[in-house]
């Protein structure tokens, strides 16, 4: 059978291994920032345009591991001219953030070549999960939800009044933007079992989607007074913030 503690141990090792590349990238970035600010502090001269030519070259043939020296020379770009030339290519830089590297604050000021080099150092396993793994045949799957017979489930719900099934149907409708239906099914589910957080949340969220924020808030307050649910409180807070602006 399963040896859980051994499995947990192996999982931990796996996790550490998969986080390592990110940690390395983070370290490189932190070092660059430190060097950058250090050099900024010391030098006030602007950099001749020659370096930006060098960059152009680098963009075409990205080097997998940026050497520290190259980085430094690239990072020394306080001239307005350079910043302007950078802003022209913002879209390219903006398309990069799919790399889950937590460097948001400085991304905009990072030279293109460096950003690219960073993505290059990321090994294939850490590709963002959004990359679809679907092989071919994309056209034939777009109507697949039709194969999912929600009416059959609704019939079953009529007969067995199982609150978990009710919640399932409510969620299905909410995910398919049928907010009246999700409202209805969440309502029915709450009627059968009034203690299910998620059903109340879907109920409130459907109300918001239907443009009845006030009713949603009232419902949540009522539910919170009965259940003291933290999830409901959190959602109510977000709602209050959003709609008091």
């Amino acid at each position: 059978m399963l040896d859980i503690s051994k499995l947990e141990h192996r999982w931990l090792k796996y996790k550490i291994k998969s986080i390592l590349p990110y940690a390395a990238i983070l370290a490189v970035i932190i070092i660059s920032i430190i060097t950058f600010s250090f050099l900024m502090f010391n030098k006030t001269t602007t950099i001749p345009m020659v370096t930006s030519k060098k960059e152009d070259l680098k963009v075409k043939t990205p080097v997998p591991v940026p050497s520290i020296n190259d980085e430094n020379s690239m990072l020394l770009e306080p001239s307005m001219q350079f910043l302007q030339s950078m802003s022209g290519s913002t879209p390219l830089v903006e398309s990069v953030p799919t790399t889950p590297v937590p460097v948001v604050p400085i991304k905009r000021s990072l030279p293109l070549a460096q950003v690219q080099a960073q993505t290059d150092t990321v090994p294939p396993i850490v590709k963002p999960p959004q990359v679809p793994v679907v092989k071919g045949k994309l056209t034939s799957i777009k109507r697949d939800d039709a194969a999912f017979d929600i009416h059959e489930l609704e019939e079953r719900f009529k007969n067995n009044s199982n609150p978990n099934l009710g919640l399932y149907i409510a969620r299905y409708h909410y995910d398919h933007a049928n907010y009246t239906e999700s409202y209805n099914y969440a309502l029915k589910t709450n009627g059968i079992n009034a203690t299910m957080d998620e059903s109340w949340l879907i109920f409130a969220k459907s109300l918001v989607k239907l443009g009845k924020e006030d009713q949603a808030k009232k419902t949540l307050q009522l539910y919170i007074s009965n259940s003291n649910s933290q999830n409901a409180k959190n959602y109510l807070n977000t709602l209050t913030k959003e709609y008091s602006k």
Binding site: Y14, V134, D144, L153, E198
Partner: protein, 269 residues
């Protein structure tokens, strides 16, 4: 032992082929329909191929289950590799002709013309990559003589493209390729299995992110997905018994999915 919330979902994902557990998935249903029409065409032999675990045996058993209501169908799911044995077993199964000795092809064809069926009987052969070329040739001759109609399944492996193999190249073969499930299909597969068995609470735990991860790990392969889900719910059953406070019921835990993947070898750790 207490009946666990997760033991029923776990057992749903054991790797067995039972036509009653067949889950309807759009692209598979299309193939199934075309399979059913092909079966009505005379002379054609039908080849179901695809990688291991893409549901070939399942589709074949489903076909057997559905067709046997209307006509003579016989399933040979464990290959009979011995050539003489093959005809003997076939004669026994289709014509109820018991014989101790080996049958020649001529004798077999005589037998078949002596027995009259309203429609040509169908023989389903699973795992046909194990049959020899000589036996495949005999099968073709039987099909040519309109004695029997064959539907066979074949593994497709990396190093040899079976379709390129000589005896499947001729035009008498009608080929249908089964593929791994797409992300959407896998979602439908898992959800339908759970809902069919009334495991609504567990079905509610599965969100898009979970499906994405599962489909990434298993590449949409049904067998791999079964194994993963089985290990996952075994894990959950264990935690439920020994450490219930660790379980969060609002979604499947990424950690547990990864642990299950390590256990089944999908993740190398």
């Amino acid at each position: 032992m207490e009946p666990s919330l997760f033991s029923k979902p776990r057992d749903l994902f054991t790797d067995v082929v039972n036509p009653r557990d067949y889950v309807q998935i759009d692209s598979v249903s299309h193939m199934y329909q075309s399979l059913k029409t092909s079966v009505q065409k005379p002379l054609k032999m039908i080849l179901l191929y695809g990688r291991p675990g893409t549901g070939k045996s399942m589709l074949l058993h489903k076909l057997h289950h559905d067709l046997s209501k209307h006509q003579k169908v016989c399933m040979i799911d464990i290959p009979i590799i011995d050539e003489d044995d093959f005809l003997r077993v076939l004669a026994q199964k289709v014509y109820s002709y018991a014989s101790r000795e080996a049958l020649t092809l001529t004798r077999f064809l005589e037998l078949s013309s002596a027995v009259n069926f309203p429609v040509i009987p169908i023989v389903l052969l699973d795992e046909a990559q194990l049959y020899s070329a000589a036996l495949m040739e005999k099968i073709r001759l039987i099909s040519d003589a309109r004695a029997l109609k064959f539907v066979i399944t074949l593994h497709k492996t990396d190093n040899e493209d079976i379709i390129a193999k000589e005896h499947f190249q001729t035009r008498i073969w009608e080929s249908i390729e089964l593929q791994n499930a797409s992300h959407e299909e896998l979602k439908i597969y898992i959800q339908k299995k759970l809902l069919k068995a009334n495991c609504f609470d567990v079905a509610n735990m599965i969100n898009e992110k979970n499906i994405k991860l599962i489909s990434k790990l298993t590449r949409g392969n049904y067998r791999e997905s079964n194994k993963l889900m089985f290990a996952l719910f075994s894990l959950y059953a264990w935690y439920e018994e020994h450490n219930p406070s660790k379980i969060k019921y609002n979604s499947l835990s990424t950690k547990y999915i990864e642990m299950a993947a390590i256990h089944t070898g999908l993740i190398n750790a």
